[in-house]
């Protein structure tokens, strides 16, 4: 999968985390996913689709990272996954998908996004669209890891208007 198709999501991750948590994450090396299991304890997943493009984006956290993000967002001090922590993961996933949607719309590739679904549990299964490759983009925020899984498929004759969208992520490492 061409990096330009995942860069809107990566850019949205940076912007969302920086704005909502006050701290920008650092990205690690991108890898292709070769199984259905999530790399963490809690995931938010959002699907998107139009007549030109479809796919899904998932945000997966170990418990400690999910709790830290929640505490940073609302100034609380919990240490387990509560309903509020679940809601935080869902809302972050929703905002990241929305940010990528705007960048894609600027490239005349509009799509609708679903309301986020939350999945919990060690090694839980994350189902992206069957037959579409899934890219894993690992991040750390502070010392806390999380991953973003991105699956994008274009219909025939659909592509970015310009060769590379103008995003910071397009020129970032990896």
């Amino acid at each position: 999968m061409d990096v330009k198709y995942i860069s809107p999501f990566v850019e949205s991750v940076y912007h969302t985390m920086q704005t909502m948590l006050g701290e920008a994450p650092k990205r690690k090396e991108v890898v292709m996913k070769n199984d259905n299991h999530a790399h963490g304890d809690i995931s938010g997943i959002v699907g998107f689709a139009s007549d030109k493009i479809y796919g899904s984006v998932a945000l997966t956290f170990p418990t400690e990272t999910a709790v830290k993000c929640y505490n940073m967002m609302v100034g609380d001090n919990v240490d387990i996954i509560t309903d509020d922590v679940r809601d935080t993961v869902g809302e972050l996933t929703n905002i990241i998908a929305g940010g990528a949607k705007k960048i894609y719309a600027d490239q005349e590739l509009s799509f609708d996004i679903s309301i986020p679904t939350i999945v919990l549990g060690k090694n839980h299964v994350l189902s992206h669209k069957v037959g579409t490759p899934v890219v894993i983009v690992p991040f750390v925020i502070g010392e806390h890891p999380f991953v973003v899984e991105i699956s994008v498929k274009f219909e025939k004759n659909a592509a970015f208007k310009s060769k590379t969208p103008k995003t910071e992520a397009a020129s970032a490492q990896g």
Binding site: T19, Y70, G98, K101, I113
Partner: protein, 119 residues
């Protein structure tokens, strides 16, 4: 001033409400979707609403509010992930007074709120 905050995310409602309280607004009512919000309109002087919500979405809610002569002039700010120009235009066309794209900072929220209220 009585303010209605509508969002299906309890965390987002909490973040918005906390910011409003920090700015001195203590009379805040919350709803998890447009249908629930329709039941809480009594005395409301400002509405902040999300767009994508289950049961009744924010745009439908705005249209319903604008149909009601009692609330047709109540200022409405849409706070949403829908940031594309076409969506912003559609919201404004249907009666939204101001628009905030998530993610937002507390400063952006208060700037838009004050601009909407003419402060």
């Amino acid at each position: 001033m009585k303010i209605l905050v509508v969002d299906d995310s309890a965390i987002m409602r909490r973040i918005i409400s906390n910011n409003l309280k920090s700015a001195g607004h203590s009379d805040i009512v919350e709803a998890g979707n447009g249908a629930e919000a329709m039941e809480k309109l009594g005395g409301i002087e400002l509405i902040l609403t999300d767009w994508n919500m289950p049961v009744m979405d924010g745009l439908t809610f705005v249209k319903e509010v604008r149909k009601d002569t009692s609330y047709s002039k109540v200022p409405i700010i849409m706070v949403t992930t829908e940031g594309a120009k076409t969506e912003v235009m559609e919201a404004l066309k249907n009666g939204v007074n101001n628009y905030i794209v998530k993610p937002f900072t507390p400063e952006t929220l208060m700037e838009k709120l004050n601009a909407t209220l003419g402060k």
